[in-house]
Subunit: 311 residues, 2 copies
């Protein structure tokens, strides 16, 4: 059996292998997904984001356990953002040593970026398809909501869970301002800490200010480490799913997500084209030299690159 | 006189007007810069970055004053990152009401983003050219080092100044990990606060760990609000410039920066092409529908977009 058939047959090693191949930008893996794409679409994708230190990983584990209790098969993709400058991991490895890893109906995977940030999105989105075809009911993509690329990753989820913690400084709040708006459900983790009620109030006030919609994101106080209120949070996640499905908004949303994905795939291919094609012929080097010596300006150089790529 | 001639003649209003036009993606402004590009190249560009709340704006003002004392003409571009989702400003307006604004040899400008983050880089890099042609000796670009786009903006500087403050939490440190590596000079602002020495030590230890180079970024304790050690910081900035110029590395660096700029300009144009061209003909909508109904997979849809753009 080839890798694709093995994936369809529920072979865990085939699943792991395909995700690794996607991380390495292996074209064979892409071709396998192309072929099997018609078998995807069963899984529901939940994006989990929040500042570093908000306890996303622990919370995701607890959510996975609750979904398991309800008979669902679970995939978890933990994305480790790495520095765009050295490729070194910021947050380190997040392989979990817990009972979830022994469960045959749970597939956990840490993914790092090799090279470009665009590559991270591509690999993560590909891995979601692999887990979907593999037969998972719910897939969690967990990532730090810091940069644009990480935001892009969770944006393709059906439901976005934003994990907050009490008393995060204003600095972090400012950083998060951009991603608060994509949250469908808020969890205040570590809510046994002082300040949880104030944080809840602040989020609610923020929601009061935002555009009125027929769905208002719920704010749930939980404690992942103490296993408190996890079932309620799962209920809220499922309520959001039900809302999307009953109103038909799920199709609208998935269209928007697929549009984003196609756009990002095209963008990455374009950048690779420029890097490889224009680079190999030394065209790029020559243009840069000409701009340095003021024979050319950067805008005209860009036009020349575009003409070269187009034909 | 047209706008370009007025800019060359030192007309402040022409300068302001051109920067506004760049913010609005006005092609006329781009054409004027293309024409005048040969008059650029005198200015030295200093990027100033750091977490929100590190006092970058105040420090930049004090640096500008010190450079003024030394007879230099100064441009300041303060970039306000805005949310990629609503376009609302995170940090609010930063127009400064101080004596610098009365100085004819200082040009201060706050820039926001209208729409895309790519657009922010394009406008900021264009504004640097305008200030350069306008005759400024030093240009500061000041931006929060949060997302990739903001990092891109300061990356095109000749010297990058990273502003730290004592006792920033680990959360912020993790976020900053990616941009620490692009710093040429570190300033620890608010160094009258407790913990400044520990922060200095941490940065020095970080530098000890990083790859050995013939230039080691200095770490300078300052207090912008108390006007302490600003002259030493200016000395260090100039020392980095001297280092780049004496070793010839300035050319290498500017080549790298111009390469990045051309790449980003091309990327933005490509995305606009996809959005406008593929969108107008409803090609994009049709592809998305086909992916939703599993007639197509996203990778093949991407290939079709690429073929369409190429011609």
């Amino acid at each position: 059996m080839n890798l694709g058939e093995r994936l369809l047959n529920g072979d865990r090693r085939a699943c792991a292998r395909l995700i690794s191949m996607l991380e390495n930008n292996d074209l064979e893996a892409v071709n396998i997904i192309k072929e099997l794409y018609k078998h995807s679409g069963n899984a529901y994708v939940i994006g989990v984001t929040g500042a570093p230190g908000s306890g996303k990983s622990t919370l995701t584990d607890k959510l996975a356990k609750e979904f398991r209790k309800r008979g669902k098969k679970i995939g978890i993709l933990a994305i480790d953002p790495t520095s765009p400058f050295t490729g070194g991991a910021i947050l380190g490895d997040r392989i979990r040593m817990n009972d979830l890893t022994l469960d045959k109906n749970v597939f956990i995977r840490s993914m790092g970026t090799r090279g470009s940030l665009g590559g991270m999105s591509r690999a993560a989105w590909g891995a979601v398809k692999v887990l979907d075809i593999f037969g998972m009911d719910y897939i969690f993509i967990e990532t730090v909501g810091v940069g644009q690329s990480e935001v892009d990753i969770v944006k393709i989820a059906d439901t976005v869970l934003m994990v907050m913690v009490p008393n995060l400084g204003d600095d972090i709040q400012a950083i998060k301002a951009g991603i608060m708006e994509i949250a469908d459900v808020f969890a205040i983790n570590k809510s046994d800490l002082e300040g949880a009620d104030r944080t809840k109030l602040e989020i609610e006030m923020n929601l009061d200010l935002s555009e009125k919609k027929d769905y208002r994101p719920p704010v749930v106080k939980v404690s992942a480490s103490r296993n408190q209120n996890i079932d309620e949070l799962v209920d809220k996640l499922i309520e959001h799913r039900t809302y999307l499905e009953e109103t038909g908004k799920i199709v609208e949303r998935r269209k928007k997500n697929i549009r984003l994905e196609i756009m990002k795939l095209a963008e990455e291919e374009f950048l690779n084209l420029v890097m490889n094609k224009a680079h190999k012929g030394n065209l790029f080097d020559k243009l840069v030299d000409d701009v340095i010596s003021k024979k050319l300006d950067p805008y005209t150089a860009k036009d020349m690159i575009m003409d070269f790529i187009k034909g």
